[in-house]
Symmetry: C2
Subunit: 522 residues, 2 copies
C-alpha cells in the first residue's frame, strides 16, 4: 500500500465566503467503489460535519461530491481519497483540495415523502434514479428507497417513471431496422438453460434478439455463466448491437455494459437484506429490456412448490403486472407460466448445462421438458410478432432442421468462441462422485434447494466444470444400484464438501412402489 | 500504516466436514468499528460468499463472527483484519485463521416479518436488540429495522419489549436506597440549559437524580456539552452511582457509559437518514431512564412553531405515549408541555449557557423564562414524589435560599471541576461581533434555525466558548443602534463564517411599531 502524498501547505483563508478548508491530498487504501474521502476527526468537527454528511471537494479544475468519513488515518490538514477517486478525477501531486460541506441531495427528501406514505412525482422519481445511477445516494439511502417502496407500495405510474428513469440514466441501443425481441426468465430453479436453445431458434427466423443475461447470485449457474463456457459474454453495448445486426442475436452478460446502472446498484443492496420487492423486480426486468431496444418480450414465470412463485394465481398476477407495464412503456409483453417445481433438464452447473443444451441441438432431441420449454418460449415470440400462428410447431421445425444449431454456432463464433466445439468436448469436473439408490422404487420429487446447495458446494458457478447431473427425475423407475445423482467438481476438497451436503440434505429420495399398506375399510 | 504479517502457510484440509479454509492473518487499516474481515475476491468465491455475508473466524482459542468484505487488499490465502478486531481478540503472530461461512442471524428473519406487516414476539424483539447491541447486525439491517418499525408501526407492547431488551443489553444501576428520579427534555430549541438549575434543586431536597445527558448532534450545545464547561462529564456508570449517592446528583454524558448500547447504534443510523421515528424516540428515552434506576421521571416536551413538535395536540399525544409506557415499565412519568417557539434563556453555546445558568444561581434571579422552566420542572418532581403540594413554590424557596447553588457546587466538585468558579470567570470566545438594530421598533420572533446555524458556524459546541448571545427577545423595545445579537467565536475564520450566515439568514428582525396602516372600514 503506497501512500501517495500530494504536497502543499494547508492554507487557511480567513475571509472565505463559506465554511471551507484546504487540505493536503493523501491516497489511502479505502475499500470503496464510490466517492469517499476521509478527514481527521477534529477537522471534521470544525467543518460541522456529522457521519453520513457529504462534502464538495475541489481540486484544481476537478470537483466531486463525496461522503465524508472521519478517522485518524489522516492527520489534521490532510484529506484522504481512495485510489478509485484519485484515478477517476485524475488527481495529481502538488495540488490542494478545497472542502465544503454540502447539503443532502434533494432525492433524500423525496424518499422521506414516500416513507411518510406519499407518492412520487415523475420529476422526483427521476431525480432519485439519477442520483442512484451517479452514486450520489449512499447504501443506507438506497435501502430506505427500496423499503419505502415495498412497504408503502407504488402505483403503476410510479413504476413506469422508475423504469423510464432507469433507462435514461444508462446506455441504450436503438436498432435502425429489424424486429427487436427479447426474453427473460424469473428463474429460481436449476437446469433452466432453455434460452441457449430458444435464442438461436428465434434468431434464425429473422428476428433480432440482443439477449443480456445475468450471472448467478445464489443459483448454480446463470445464463451468462452457462454461455461463457462456449464464448465471451463480456460484451460492450456496441458489440451487442454489432453482433445482433450481423448474426441475429447474442447471449451476453448485461453487467459488462452500462445499461440501467441504477438497477444494478439497487440489486446489490437488495441481496444482503434478502429483499426482492415486486416494484423493483418489475422495474429491473422492464428497464433492461427497454434499454436494449426490445419491442416484443416473452417473460418466463416458473411457479410451483419450492419455486420463487408458489401458485398459479400469484404467477398470473405477476404476469398481468408485466403486461400492463409493457403497455405503458410501448413494449409488447407476453408471459409464459411454466412449471417451476422441478428442474427442467438434468444438468446443473455451467459446463454441464452448456453440454446438455448443445447436445440437444446436435442430436435434435433431448430432455422432453427442456425442448418443450425452449421451443415453447421461442414459439410465443413467433406468434406475438406475427411470424406464425402455431409458434411451437414453427420453432420445432427450425430446431429439427438443424437451423437452431447452425445459428447457435454463428453466435458462438461472433462472440469469439470456438464454433466447431462439440458437446462431448466440453470439459466438466474430473473429480466425481455418484450417489446410487439403495432400493428399488420410484424416484420422488427432487429437492431443488438441496440440489442447488450441492452444486454450489461442488464449486459452481466459479468452477465452470462443477455441478450435478440428475439421473432420475420424478416418476422414473429406480432399481437398487442405479445412479441417482452424479456430483462433478474441479477440486477434491470441494467434492468432499458437496458429498457432505448431499449426505445431510437428501436431494432425491426413492419411495417404495407400495406407497401405503391399506387394510380395508374407509 | 504498518502491515502486520502473521505468518504461517495456508493449509488446505481436504477432508473437512464443512467448507472452511485456513488463511494467513494480516492487519489492514480498515475504518471499522465493528468486526470486519477482508478476503481476496477469488477466495471469497471459493467459499461461496456474497457481499453482506458473514463468516466465523477461529484463531486459536478466540473466535468471532465478522462481516466479510472482498478486495485485493489481501492476497489469496490471506485474511485481513482491522486493528480493532486484532486488539479485541488478542490476535498474535504465528497464528492461522479458520474461516467458515455462517448464515444470517435469525434476527434478520424477524425484521423481515415486520417488513411484511407482522408483529414481533417478545423473544424476537429481544433477539434483535441483543444482536444490535452486540454488533451482530450491520447498518443496512438496522436501518431496515428502523424503517419497518416506523412505516408498519409498533404496538405499545412491542415498544415495551424493545425498551426492556435495550435495558437488559447494557449496563444498569440499581440504588440500594433513596428515591431515584430523573428528567429529560425533547429539546429542539436553543438556550434550553434549565437542567443545570433543576438538577441541583432536586438534589438538595434529598431526592437522588443520576442525570445522563447527551452531547449536541445538530444543536449548538447539549446538556452534556454545557456541563462539561464546569466539570468532567465522562463518568462511568460506577462513578455516576457513587457521586449520586454521595451528593445527590450528577450531570454526566451518557455516552461514557455502556447504557443501552443498542439505542446508541440506532441513533447513529437514524441521523444520516434524518429519521426520528416515534417508537425509537419513546424507547430511547425510557430505556435510558430505566437503566439508570429511575422511578419517577419528568419529561419536558417543548412545542410551538419551529420546534420539534409543532402543536399542543401532538405534544399531548406524545406525553400520553410516555406516560402509558411508563406504567408498563413501572416508571412514574409526568410530562411538562412547555413553550418551544422561542429560546428559553438568552445564551446559546456551551460556555455562554453555563455562564447564564451559574449567574442565575449566584444572583438568585435571571431570565424569567429560564427560572420559571427550571423551577417548574423541579417542582413537578417534588409533587410527583410527594415532597410538596406546590412544587414550584418549594423549588423557588430552595433556589432563593442559595441551596441550589450550594448543591451545584458540590456536584461540580464531585465531578472533578472547580467548585469555586464564578460565572464571570467562565471564558467565552474572544472574537466577537455584535449585530445592532438599524431602526426603532419591537423585536420580532427569533428564527430558531438561524440562531442555531450561526452558533454552530461560530464553532459551537466543539469550541466551547463559541455561540450567540441574544440581547432582544420577542416583544422587547428596540432603538436604532441597540445590540440585537452578539456572536462569540474562538477562531477568526469561524467568526467570519458566522457573520456571513447571520447576514443571509436574518435571525432576528425588528418591526416598526405600526404593524399595519389601517384606513377604516371592515
Amino acid at each position: 500500500m503506497k501512500a501517495h502524498h500530494i504536497v502543499l501547505e494547508k492554507l487557511i483563508s480567513p475571509h472565505q465566503l463559506s465554511i471551507s478548508m484546504k487540505y493536503r491530498l493523501k491516497v489511502v487504501p479505502l475499500r470503496s467503489e464510490k466517492f469517499t474521502v476521509v478527514l481527521n476527526q477534529s477537522d471534521a468537527e470544525d467543518l460541522g460535519l456529522l457521519p453520513g454528511d457529504r462534502v464538495k471537494v475541489i481540486v484544481g479544475k476537478e470537483s466531486f461530491v463525496a461522503e465524508a468519513d472521519f478517522t485518524n488515518l489522516v492527520e489534521s490538514g490532510e484529506i484522504g481519497v481512495c485510489s478509485f477517486t484519485a484515478e477517476t478525477c485524475r488527481l495529481d501531486e502538488k495540488c490542494m483540495a478545497e472542502v465544503y460541506p454540502v447539503s443532502r441531495p434533494k432525492s433524500v427528501e423525496f424518499i422521506r415523502k414516500k416513507l411518510d406514505g406519499g407518492k412520487y412525482s415523475a420529476v422526483e422519481m427521476k431525480s432519485i434514479i439519477e442520483d442512484i445511477a451517479k452514486n450520489v445516494l449512499n447504501d443506507l439511502e438506497i435501502s430506505a428507497f427500496i423499503l419505502a417502496n415495498e412497504i408503502v407500495g407504488m402505483s403503476e405510474e410510479e413504476v413506469q417513471w422508475m423504469i423510464e428513469a432507469m433507462v435514461e440514466n444508462g446506455e441504450r441501443i436503438s436498432f435502425e431496422r429489424g424486429v427487436i425481441v427479447n426474453m427473460h426468465t424469473i428463474g429460481g430453479l436449476p437446469s433452466n438453460e432453455f434460452q441457449l436453445i430458444a435464442v438461436p431458434t428465434v434468431a434464425s427466423a429473422g428476428l433480432l434478439i440482443p439477449k443480456t443475461a445475468s450471472r448467478a447470485i445464489t443459483s448454480a449457474s446463470g445464463t451468462a455463466d452457462t454461455m461463457e463456457v462456449l464464448a465471451d459474454v463480456n460484451l460492450s453495448i456496441e458489440e451487442i448491437r454489432e453482433i445482433t445486426e450481423k448474426v441475429g442475436g447474442v447471449i451476453a452478460w448485461g453487467g459488462a455494459t452500462n445499461i440501467a446502472p441504477a438497477d444494478d446498484r439497487i440489486i446489490r443492496i437488495e441481496h444482503p437484506l434478502s429483499l426482492d420487492p415486486r416494484p423493483q423486480l418489475l422495474a429491473s426486468v422492464m428497464a433492461k429490456k427497454g434499454a436494449i431496444g426490445a419491442r416484443h418480450v416473452v417473460i418466463d414465470i416458473p411457479y410451483g412448490e419450492g419455486a420463487k412463485i408458489e401458485s398459479g394465481e400469484m404467477a398470473r398476477a405477476l404476469a398481468n403486472d408485466f403486461i400492463e407495464l409493457g403497455k405503458r412503456l410501448g413494449l409488447e409483453v407476453v408471459c409464459a407460466l411454466t412449471y417451476g417445481g422441478q428442474p427442467i433438464g438434468r444438468a446443473v452447473g455451467p459446463a454441464l448445462e452448456a453440454k446438455e443444451a448443445l447436445k440437444a441441438m446436435e442430436e435434435r432431441r433431448g430432455s422432453a421438458s427442456l425442448l418443450e420449454k425452449s421451443l415453447g418460449i421461442a414459439g410465443l415470440l413467433f406468434e406475438t410478432t406475427g411470424i406464425a400462428n402455431d409458434g411451437y410447431s414453427y420453432a420445432k421445425k427450425i430446431f429439427e432442421s438443424g437451423k437452431t444449431l447452425e445459428k447457435f454456432r454463428e453466435i458462438i463464433a461472433a462472440q469469439g468462441g470456438n464454433e466447431k466445439i462439440k458437446a462431448d468436448e466440453i470439459p466438466v469436473g474430473d473429480k466425481t462422485f455418484t450417489i446410487t439408490s439403495q432400493r428399488n422404487g420410484i424416484a420422488k420429487k427432487i429437492n431443488l434447494q438441496a440440489v442447488n446447495e450441492i452444486a454450489r458446494s461442488a464449486g459452481a458457478p466459479k468452477d465452470k466444470g462443477a455441478g450435478v447431473y440428475i439421473h432420475k427425475k420424478r416418476g422414473d423407475v429406480v432399481k437398487a444400484g442405479d445412479p441417482l445423482l452424479t456430483i462433478y467438481a474441479e477440486k477434491e476438497w470441494k467434492l468432499d464438501n458437496a458429498i457432505e451436503v448431499a449426505t445431510t440434505r437428501k436431494p432425491l429420495e426413492v419411495s417404495g412402489v407400495i406407497i401405503e399398506k391399506f387394510k380395508g375399510g374407509y
